[in-house]
């Protein structure tokens, strides 16, 4: 039924045929307009400044956005014309193209540059503004409106005209904002209110000082702005700007806090497990991270030297390599030093500090005391801009994702494997576990190796965020102890909560109190916290608590 009605012959006559004619006539008029355009612009092909200016004015009055290519070229000095008065654009690499159609073109005879003096330039900038602001595409108009910045006096009336005709809401906001500086300086309160409304709508932080000046008191205690309604509008504008800044800051801080927290978790995971298991503080744990980072550096250099075609994938090799190298150093440490100090945690602390000095000095001798650079692979460079001024870099996103994967790995290891079961048993009650036939020494060794390996993974993550140096681990050791203290010992959930909490609080406090004071607040808080809850956020309950 419907189909029948759709295809009635009358329908064809009434709708489709006129449409065809319309398109045909449009094509005709386009041709005509192209002629007008080239006629308008022909004046540009002149060394006489007044002729060029006249041509600019003509093109601006016609309002055809296709003239923009030629005018932009004139603006940046790449416009040329040949002996046929044919307008061409000469690119930096010497290639010529037609200034009207953009097609490749060849010059006939000698190329000349159109006149360009102050007169031309004075005519050019309003023409460019009015043409690009009336371009058919909303995206072009929006871009042009953003590029206006604080327009000069001769452009302001053009912007006003364009704004009156503009329909797109985004472009309207941007245009109104461009008019704001002129309106703010106006004598009429209504103009100033309009400007402030525009600033409020755009929430543009660059106007904050201007608006604040309106609310302040000038010389002799007199208010800069006499009109109360304007002051109210200014207050509203300021609060809108501040809300916007708060949003931008909190999104940024959350992101940086999450990425810092992820690194802290990677460092603290192993520390927490070994502390829970053996009650020893491994002061060389930070150096395991450093070794992991240097392993990434070595793998990168190997790829540069031998597999340059696959350089982008060196990270895929560096991750397992760092785990193995750091883990092996950890096992070696446990075998040679730590197992002999069992039950003497304070001595272990000093001995592992000695090991960390040895490791730092060894790395310094091998790789030099200077920082080395581990480059991001190409798929980790760059980022996404989710808000103006907030860029989430891929490397930080990858570190956050990576730490989630490592957490899952450790969780699976502890909960789903036999070794994990044994580790948990030994952590709860060493003597009982030994009586059940678990080789506690073997469990110690493997756990130490895995804890160190996980720290090595943290080192790879760190190598993607910054420079790698022999003292890399030292900067994180105090923080990761704090994570362990905060989260409680030997508990994955506690470490995660502690790490994320510390990372986020750190980054939230930084803008408020400065990086150093923020850190001092946190350390002070932890010192107070540990008084109240010496077992950490997630205290062991039941029998496990009695033993520890």
């Amino acid at each position: 039924m419907i189909a029948d009605r759709l295809f009635k012959p009358a329908m064809w006559r009434r709708l489709v045929l006129p449409l065809v004619f319309a398109i045909a006539s449009l094509a005709q008029s386009r041709g005509a307009r192209a002629d007008q355009l080239s006629e308008d612009l022909s004046g540009l092909a002149s060394t006489d400044a007044s002729e060029v200016s006249a041509a600019i004015a003509k093109a601006a009055n016609r309002g055809d956005a296709r003239a923009l290519t030629a005018l932009h070229a004139l603006d940046d000095g790449s416009l040329r014309f040949d002996t046929q008065k044919h307008l061409l654009i000469k690119k930096d690499n010497g290639v010529l193209s037609d200034a009207l159609t953009g097609a490749p073109a060849t010059a006939q005879g000698k190329l000349e540059e159109p006149a360009s003096d102050n007169e031309v330039r004075r005519a050019l900038s309003p023409a460019l503004a009015s043409l690009s602001l009336s371009a058919p595409s909303a995206a072009v108009r929006l871009k042009a409106a953003h590029e206006l910045g604080r327009p000069s006096d001769e452009i302001v009336p053009i912007v006003r005209q364009v704004l009156a005709k503009e329909a797109d809401p985004d472009v309207k906001v941007a245009l109104a904002l461009a008019l704001a500086p002129a309106d703010l300086a106006s004598e009429k309160p209504a103009d100033r209110i309009r400007a402030l409304d525009a600033i409020r709508a755009a929430s543009d932080a660059s106007f904050k000082t201007d608006v604040e000046r309106l609310l302040s008191k000038g010389e002799g205690g007199k208010l800069v702005e006499p009109d109360a309604s304007v002051r109210a509008a200014a207050t509203a504008a300021i609060s809108a700007i501040e809300t916007r800044q708060l949003l931008i800051n909190s999104v940024g801080n959350t992101f940086y806090g999450l990425s810092l927290g992820s690194v802290l978790i990677l460092c603290a995971l192993g520390l927490s497990i070994t502390f829970g298991l053996m009650g020893v503080i491994n002061m060389a744990h930070g150096e395991m991270m450093m070794i992991g980072a240097y392993t990434a550096f070595v793998v990168q250099n190997f790829f540069v030297a031998h597999l340059p075609a696959h350089l982008d994938w060196y990270v895929a090799v560096a991750v397992p390599a760092a785990f193995v190298v750091s883990g092996a150093v950890g096992v070696l440490m446990e075998r040679t030093v730590i197992r002999h100090l069992y039950g003497r945690p304070l001595e272990t602390l000093l001995a592992t500090w000695g090991i960390s000095l040895l490791l730092i000095q060894t790395v310094r001798v091998i790789f030099g005391a200077q920082n080395v650079t581990v480059a991001n692979p190409s798929w980790l460079s760059g980022g996404v801009e989710i808000l103006p001024q907030v860029v989430l870099t891929y490397s930080r996103l990858a570190v956050i994702g990576f730490s989630v994967v490592v957490m899952l790995f450790v969780w699976a290891l502890m909960q789903k494997t036999r070794l994990g079961l044994e580790v948990r048993a030994v952590t709860q009650n060493r003597a009982m576990a030994a009586a059940m036939g678990i080789s506690t020494r073997r469990v110690d060794m493997w756990t130490f190796g895995i804890g160190s390996g996980v720290a090595g993974l943290g080192g790879v993550a760190l190598s993607q965020l910054g420079n790698v140096g022999p003292e890399l681990g030292q900067g994180y050791i105090v923080d990761s102890f704090m994570v362990v203290v905060l989260g409680g010992v030997g508990k994955l959930a506690g470490t995660i909560a502690g790490g994320l909490g510390l990372g986020l609080v750190n980054k939230y406090l930084e803008p408020l109190a400065g990086a150093v004071l923020g850190k001092i607040f946190i350390l002070g808080f932890i010192i107070v916290f540990i008084q109240r809850r010496p077992q950490g956020i997630f205290a062991l309950k039941g029998r496990a608590a009695e033993v520890s």
Partner: protein
Amino acid sequence: MKAEPTVGLKALHDKRGWLALAIVTLVLCVLVPVLSLAVPASSPLHLPDYLVALFGKFLCYGIVALAIDLIWGFTGILSLGHGVFFALGGYAMGMYLMLSIGAQGVYKSALPDFMVFLDWKELPWFWRGFDYLGVALTAALVVPGLLAFAFGYFAFRSRIRGVYFSIITQALTYALMLLFFRNETGFGGNNGLTDFKSLYGYDLHQPSTKVALYLFSALGLLLTYLVCRYIVTSKAGRVLRAIRDAESRAMFVGFNPTSYKLFAWTLSAVLCGLAGALYVPQVGIINPGEMQPANSIEMGIWVAVGGRATLFGAVLGAFLVNGMRSFFTAAMPNAWLYVLGLLFIAVTLFFPDGVAGALGRLKRKS
């Protein structure tokens, strides 16, 4: 025959002990000044100024080692934050020295140079009074003592012990280091306090002033030793050792470990403050680097090398390790961290009772 109950000076040492102490004191207090001042500079026996200052520095380290031995060796609490107390004492003295520069600084202002640099117009309130030596010396003892008392009160009351306590002392020194690194804190930031000219009117660059400071340090070390010796041989010292060996048992017997620990901890901090105050005029600088966690851990190794719970061993350890440091950092700078690292490992693994223990074993064999 029943052993006589020992009282008075006899309780501290037997006759041979006193004799040994007197000989060491005489050597330290007479030999160095004579070799430095009386022997002409051309003689090979002449002790150059820098060595006098170096030995004076070692004596201050000896005081620190005694303080740490008291709290670690006898009470079983390993502090990784004693550098803070040492530095606070040093800063108190440094503030006095800074103010006594007067208008002789680079900017010719009555304010210390770094304040002129920061465009401050007057002294902050916490610098008031530090133009008197007495105030500075009192602050050098009281400020570390108060900090240690407040910190220890909360920590011991919550029964934080073992490695937990060690870690939060490390956090303490780390936090204060960050605080002192800030210019706004008012202690010269990164550069600390330096360019001192005179102490109580005496030129710090004069050899005689250096020897005098050395003698004061030796006197400080001797007094500290006697105080520590008095405490560890008293009944309180026995309680401290009981707490170290079995805290719960000591508590059940009726002693309150918290107050004993708090006493030893606070006294230890005060002694460190004294050491810092003696140290700064001899080295001529105090900066937040003294509060680095690494420095505090190293102080622990002095005591471990010398032998814990022996007092004289701790002093010996401080001399030995720092002597080695002076030697290696000059002769083989790359090897020093290896030596220090191996020292940490070897002492904990193979010589848990340190040099003093080894000497004791030799004596028993002979």
